[in-house]
């Protein structure tokens, strides 16, 4: 347990080494350091996790050194190791390691191989700081760190201006949320006098009763931060464009880890959200609406990565819905299974894209199940999980829990249930459409490159994980296993259920499964069916959010910038300079070099002074 500091330190060290020595160590060395640092971090995580489970204490805090110390206000570089951060750390290091290994194959021909791995390692380090931080300032540090790495990696192929624009968009849109979160932290310092997690949460319970305006405001601001980072309504527009980055980046940052930071933040500060019912209801509503909107958009995309991007937004919507109804551990469960199967899907999509020489349009794929059988197999496993095919996939168990608790928990309602079930239907539909388009039908593009073992091995491991990970938590109706929620119970309160029985739960599961089957059948039948093109375009563009923001925010800002191009604000200062220069011109004209003029000046001065003195003496 004493060396948990190694978990974030190793990737940081790896990034530093790669930045400093990439020229000397060659591609093999870069791959070794890049994967090795994350792999070692994963190893340390597993060892520390086993020790942690044996010890049975709810949390282990490691104080490294003081960062800020002003009077009684202290911020330390402290790492907190508890059940919640362990789950996140495990997913980040383990999935991160697999994606790193995969990247050595995927990026093998890239000239900026070392830069890629340096950024990836930096990302993993920052993400680990985020989830291991014991205080909110350190968490914020990691939060901004992952934002930076996301920017660097989306714009990795910076020679295409579109990629740079996508990177800037991601950075700026998430910055909106980050600002809200920073304000929330300021408010927390002002009211609780601390940023340390345990202190803040304990003080919050003493200070505020449920529904107090201050805590509601703080919870809403935190939600703002989470919404920005996790690409939820109304700040979801950056994630589809973020697919401009290399596919392993999309898998690691924009599916498995960074975008779920919002889920982590809300789960971490669950006390604040429990204290403010309206903010918690807002979390659920944001999640429910997002999962439906993004699901519909995913259904009409043509780019395989954009399907997966919208799917990610939609699945995080599920997690938000779970958080909003108080099913904290269900959200974390879905985070974990989602990390496995979505990373698998992205990496599988990457294998397809490379095999077809960087073709991303699904309508130019097809029939790949014969030419890429291995990829087809793992992609099918991942898709089954995403579509929540019953009984054998992890996605079924995690999503089923959310669907059930959306209605059955104390905060649940029929609307949430309906959204969750409808979302499951849409998810199955777009997943099936993707599979049918890519792997079935006529072969439209010839496969010219088969992914090697370095790329296939992580896919197989992830496929196994996305199947097995579901069995650590089974519903009442199917064995009732609660390993994960028991494990998380010291950190996250258990969900309160108030209505519904076993029969209803069976009914819900039956309905979801039936809808899922219907969706797959419909997707098969409607694959070639005409779709109203206006509606299709509208959905494809993500419900017109981009256009609306363009008109509402971007254009006015650009206009303002154009107006201000002549530096209107600077006029005060340039004016001051002009006046000074004018005086200078007048004064320098008096320095004529004619001695007698100087004498005259002295005489006139003396006369004036004398006159003033005499006038003051005698006139008054």
């Amino acid at each position: 347990m004493q060396w948990i500091y190694l978990i974030p330190a190793l990737p940081f060290l790896g990034a530093l080494l790669l930045v400093l020595a990439s020229r000397r160590i060659g591609k093999k060395g870069v791959a070794l350091i890049g994967c090795g640092s994350v792999g070692l971090a994963a190893l340390v995580t597993i060892i520390a996790g086993l020790q942690f489970m044996q010890q049975g204490s709810p949390a282990f805090v490691q104080h490294l050194w003081d960062w800020v110390s002003i009077g009684t206000f202290r911020i330390g570089i402290d790492l907190r190791f508890d059940a919640l951060s362990l789950v996140f750390t495990f997913v980040i290091t383990f999935v991160g390691f697999l994606i790193h290994v995969y990247s050595t194959g995927y990026m093998a021909d890239d000239p900026d191989f070392a830069r890629f791995f340096a950024c990836m390692n930096l990302f993993v380090g920052a993400m680990l700081m985020l989830v291991l931080a014991d205080n909110l300032l350190l968490l914020y540090f990691g939060w901004e760190g992952v934002g930076l790495c996301s920017y660097l990696l989306i714009g990795f192929w910076y020679k295409d201006p579109a990629n740079g624009a996508a990177a800037r968009k991601a950075f700026i849109v998430t910055r909106v949320g980050d600002t809200a979160m920073a304000i929330a932290l300021f408010l927390l310092v002002q009211h609780t006098g601390s940023l340390q997690l345990s202190t803040v949460l304990a003080r919050a319970q003493e200070l505020w009763s449920a529904g107090d305006p201050t805590v509601v405001l703080i919870a809403f601001l935190l939600l703002g931060g989470a919404v920005g980072k996790s690409a939820q309504l109304p700040l979801q527009t950056w994630l589809p464009d973020a697919m401009a980055g290399p596919t392993p980046v999309s898998a690691l940052i924009h599916a498995a880890t960074m975008v779920t930071a919002g889920v982590y933040l809300i789960a971490r500060t669950n006390v604040l959200f429990t204290l403010s019912p309206s903010a918690q209801a807002a979390v659920a509503i944001v999640g429910a609406v997002t999962l439906l909107l993004a699901g519909c958009s995913a259904f009409v995309q043509t780019d395989i990565k954009r399907v997966l991007a919208y799917s990610t937004i939609s699945q995080i919507g599920y997690m938000f819905l779970a958080l909003g109804v108080g099913a904290w551990s269900a959200a974390i469960f879905h985070f974990m299974t989602h990390a496995f199967f979505k990373a698998l899907l992205f990496l599988g999509a990457g294998a397809v894209i490379v095999a077809l020489h960087h073709e991303q349009d699904m309508f130019r794929m097809g029939g790949l199940r014969r030419s890429l059988p291995g990829v087809f197999l793992v992609f099918l496993v991942g898709s089954a999980s995403l579509a929540a095919l019953p009984f054998v996939t992890s996605g079924f168990y995690s999503k089923d829990q959310i669907v059930w608790l959306a209605g059955a928990s104390a905060n649940g309602s029929a609307f949430y249930s309906l959204a969750a079930i409808l979302g499951a239907f849409i998810t199955a539909a777009y997943t099936a459409r993707m599979i049918f388009l890519v792997f079935f039908g006529k072969e439209k593009t010839h496969v010219h490159h088969h992914p090697g073992p370095v790329m296939m091995a992580p896919l197989y491991i992830l496929a196994v994980l996305s199947t097995l990970a579901g069995f650590i938590e089974l519903p009442h109706t199917l064995g009732h296993v609660t390993l994960l929620s028991d494990f998380l119970s010291p950190v996250l309160p258990a969900v309160v259920t108030d209505h519904g029985g076993l029969a209803l739960e069976w009914g819900m599961q039956g309905l979801t499964v039936a809808l899922c089957a219907l969706a797959i059948w419909l997707a098969w039948r409607l694959l070639a069916a005409p779709f109203p093109s206006g509606l299709k375009q509208f959905l494809k563009n993500g419900w017109g959010f981009d256009d609306a923001y363009q008109v509402l925010f971007v254009q006015p800002f650009v206009q303002l910038a154009r107006l201000n191009r002549k530096d209107i604000v600077d006029k005060v200062y340039t004016g001051l300079a002009a006046v000074t220069r004018g005086f200078h011109r007048i004064m320098s004209a008096t320095q004529s070099g004619i001695l007698r003029w100087y004498v005259m000046g002295i005489v006139m001065g003396a006369v004036i002074i004398l006159s003033v003195i005499i006038w003051r003496e005698y006139a008054v």
Binding site: Q591, G593, I594, R596, V603
Partner: protein, 100 residues
């Protein structure tokens, strides 16, 4: 009492004469002489005032002025020589290189 007033008037007249000749002359040597006249006018005023109050300080001040005038003349003449070497003239208006 009257002598005091007359003395001061004489000093004023001397000073004004020096000032006017300072202003209208262009020859630097004459300007230096005008400065000497004004210095002596100031010295005279000191002497007259000292005599009025029966105190020695005025005369002491005149000693200082004499010493200073001597030093000033020596420095001034040296400068004038330099100007003459450089410009081949003693016209002060010609020595206006430091015009702003």
């Amino acid at each position: 009492m009257n002598t005091t007033m007359e003395g001061l008037v004489l000093a004023g007249i001397l000073f004004t004469l020096g000032l006017i000749s300072m202003l209208i002359r262009r020859n630097i040597i004459f300007m230096l002489v005008s400065v000497e006249i004004m210095l002596n006018a100031a010295g005279l005023a000191f002497i007259v005032a000292a005599a009025r109050w029966g105190q020695p300080e005025g005369q002491v001040m005149f000693m200082f002025i004499l010493a200073m005038a001597a030093a000033e003349v020596s420095v001034g003449l040296a400068l004038i020589l330099q100007i003459y070497h450089q410009l081949k003239t003693l016209d002060s208006d010609e020595a206006s290189k430091m015009r702003g």
